[in-house]
Amino acid sequence: MSALQTAALIVVAIAGTAVVFTPEVLRQAIMLGIYGMTLTVLFFVFQAPDVALSEIVVSGVGMPLIILAALRKIREQDRRRKHEESEQ
């Protein structure tokens, strides 16, 4: 097992732990994008370029946008609920 693969595995382990233990949800979404990039490097070092391409587009573009949109919608619903409660 080459040194590059060992280094990539250690970085992935650290990034995965960081994703779980990040305090706020918004920061966790950004951290997930970074984690996806470390996974891409790992897949590339494991000689799997198709998988690396798939992972980078999904975790760079697909997932953070869906998470941010969901967070925005939740905040919007909170705001509307407060608005309705203050009107009553």
């Binding site: 097992m1 693969q5 060992t6 595995l9 250690i10 992935v12 382990a13 995965g16 732990t17 994703v19 779980v20 233990f21 949800v25 966790q28 979404a29 997930l32 984690y35 996974l39 790992l42 897949f43 494991f46 000689q47 799997a48 370029p49 198709d50 998988v51 798939s54 992972e55 999904v58 697909g62 997932m63 869906i66 998470i67 969901a70 967070l71 919608k73 939740i74 619903q77 609920r81």
Partner: protein, 114 residues
């Protein structure tokens, strides 16, 4: 160490599971589920690796050379894209739950068993 990728995968599984169990926000649960899924990708790719093997693209290397296993790569490739959509479905459920119950705390969802 000959099984280092598998140990890292087990670590990611446990850490992700801890994130799912101990979260106070349903969106955090969904994000920790992503970490659990990536542990499976790591196991699959680790099983399919051959020492000294190259990527399974034969456009420019001679035909009999040593390549890594392509079948596990097929599984992981479609899995990565499909799980993003399944997580979108989970987040839509979270948004719907927030609208009905007013909070994204999993401990407060119990109030709707009526």
């Amino acid at each position: 160490m000959t099984s280092f990728p598998f140990i890292v995968a087990a670590w990611l599984l446990l850490v992700g599971l801890w994130g799912v169990v101990s979260s106070r926000n349903l969106v955090r649960t969904v994000l920790s589920l992503t970490v659990v899924q990536s542990a499976t990708y790591l196991v699959l790719l680790g099983v399919g690796y051959r020492t000294g093997g190259k990527a399974p693209i034969v456009a420019d290397i001679p035909l009999g050379s040593r390549l890594v296993d392509p079948i596990v790569q097929v599984l992981v490739l479609t899995d990565v894209v499909i799980e993003a959509t399944v997580l979108a479905l989970l987040l839509a459920l979270v948004v719907q739950a927030h609208k009905r119950f007013g909070s994204v705390d999993p401990a407060e969802l119990r109030a709707l068993r009526n």
